[in-house]
Amino acid sequence: MKRFAQLIQELELSNKTNDKIEALVAYFNEADDRDKPYVIAMFTGKKPKRPVNTALIKQWAIELSQLPEWLFTESYHNVGDLSETIALVLPPAAQNIAKPLHQWVAELAELAQKDDEAKKTYVTNAWNSLNTQERFIFNKLISGNFRIGVSNKMLVNAIAKQTRQESSKIMHSIMGKWQPHKITYEALTSGSHVNTDNSWPYPFCLAYALDTKPENLGDPAAWQAEWKWDGIRGQIVKRNGELFIWSRGEELVTEQFPELHFLKDELEDGIVLDGEILSVKEGKVQSFSTLQQRLNRKTISKTQLQHAPIGFFTYDILEYQGEDIRQYPLAQRRTLLASLVEKLETKQIVMLSPLVAFATWEELAEQRLNSRAINSEGIMLKKLDSVFHTGRKRGDWWKWKINPYTVDTVMIYAQKGSGRRANFYTDYTFAVRDGNQLITIAKAYSGLTDKEIKEVNSFVNKNAIEKFGPVRTVKPELVFEIAFEGIAESKRHKAGLALRFPRIARWRKDKKADEINTLEDLKQLLVAAETLKP
């Protein structure tokens, strides 16, 4: 575990990608081979079953540190991470135990079966035998939430460098189904396991936001335009009689979308489709808030199936007859895809994402303005001769989104953030005016620079009413322009409406609190948005 603790420290202390990759490569060169698959699993979010629940862990930490619960909670608000809070408040370790990482993980897995008393003995004994940094890691091993600022891409690049292999191959290998206690580092990185695994998706090809005038892209005839959908990017994999649906977050979401299961019978083997999981009624794309009713649910009710039926708008094919065809030019893949969709017997669920016809860039710009009416967030531009790249690459694919809506609001609550932003008030609640009252319409935390956050932080510290806990009510004084993607009616919110993906666009230091927008303004926008719909 010492070597792993060192890795974590190096990763945290560095803010440069190259240094992080260097630290990872050094780790994979030096660490115990048996530890490595666990590290890869942790960094890619493969969580083992949690052996001890959080409430118990917290209770034991409070007991051991002899702190009142409120003080522990107060500490947590300042640290922003439970594992770290526990590591910091416990009394210094009385002894030192050195065990390799895989042994800790194995012991924790066994612990899951034991009773609470045995769990307590094991956990408190471990705490008493590890230094602060190791304790933190031990706690993270229990919680499984190991977010350490290493993206999948970074990890893949490091392993590729260390094993001298193509990064796309490593991406395949680690994205598939495997279990760290059953696979060796060698087998994992050589990809031998994925051959027997039907499910693996391809790394998604991602687009950059268009940062120039479309005119600069050259001849319009070299480009294909599609609507950019506001759903869940997904890959549908059909191999050897099995169907798998992957989301972009590399999650297997097959069970969540029974509407798509007919593909198991209607698609040939050896096909992988890329597209957007959307809520679709009678062939029409619904708003994201409709789709949201269907996301991250363990069970789906009949009403949900009726209210938010799922569809799949496909725009690419990556594998055909078991062959990786990502190197075919887009135009050719599209023709093939069109003929496949044509052949499906079940209509109106899986559809070919339509092209937007245009002869000139001006024409396309005009078409783009219709995006909102069909619940699209703009235009996707793809070069007709482009291959399906691994990850994000500049040049061949662009997203040309429509500008967001904006509203001027005033900040009324501030809350301490977590992670990097712990101990700073970074999560804000905003209100608009409703007669003489202020009414909450959005919560947002991103979009400010570190410098601005510090400024807001000092304002909150000076103007806060409460003294304990993470939330502060502040004088309604700071005006922020909030950008958002959509607006919908909502019974759950006091304002009667909810904004989609709100975030801070700008701090309007030039505006006073009495110059903000009103609830009436937003209601008018809602009406306008409704009437635009088909």
């Binding site: 803010n15 003080l71 522990f72 640290v79 770290e84 101990n423 570190d450």
Partner: protein, 339 residues
Amino acid sequence: MAIIKFTNKGIYCPQGNFYIDPWHPVDYAVTTHGHADHVKWGNKNYLCHELTKPILQQRYGLSDNVQTLPYHEEIDINGVKLSLHPAGHVIGSAQVKLAYKGEICVVSGDYKIEYDGISTAFEPVKCHTFVTESTFGLPIYHWQPQELIFEQMRDWIAINHLKGKTSILIAYSLGKAQRLIKNLAGNYPIYVHQSIANLNDGFKAAGVDLPNTIRITSETKKEEMQKGVVIVPPALADGKWIKSLQQPATGICSGWMMVRAGRRWRSADAGFALSDHADWPGLLTAIKATGAEKVFVTHGSSAVFAKYLNEIGIGAEEVTTKYGSDDDESLINLIENTN
């Protein structure tokens, strides 16, 4: 009548008619130490420890109206017996002990328990009323012994040397910088920013035994600094000058580096949890050692810390002051507003 009162100008002693670390100009100010949040320009008279005087001279150009006192020597101000006692915070830092009609009150300014090798070591002073800071008044703050931290720092510097990187330590000019110099000297040349060099000159003139350092000027060669250690104040932390050095690697020295969020917040290559303030156990030890019946808690986690003291049977009250706003460790962005 209470010996001290908290007023909107600062901590006031009515019987002696003087203030301790006032934040508005007054006739007579007793200064605990030289950090900017405890010294305001414009008081008619200052009283401080003899090693705080060079700081006031250096930073504020004060001289004639500064009266000094060694530690432990008692003076009488209209019946109030006043003496200064080491606070261990920075060079010259003092706790102010006031005794009047059998009542003793100690205003501690900022303090730390651990001896840092350069500031006179903290001494507990028995009193009835104690005024304490609470910068790190949460149980998440437990400092490692400084020798361990300096070991980590030396390792970090050695690795930087191996990789051809320039080691730049970010430390407050007054206090932390001298502590680093004292503890790192001997192995490599230490290059310091002029704000630190000026203070060092003042300290040396006042007889402080401080190792030699090299003042950075426009002539200083970057290749030389690469082989040594560079110490600069926080104001330069994200500046162009550091980026212009040969493969710069920056290390922030501050108690806030104890928490991962504190380390990640700053765009530094390393964070060393080295503080000139007392940690949680340090604050509790210090307070218990005074035997005080009443504790006033100033800047930091004052509400939380006061609540906890009351729960463990020490009568405590939170007081609002203006301290902590200019002090490096109390401030997130570590802005230094002098030099």
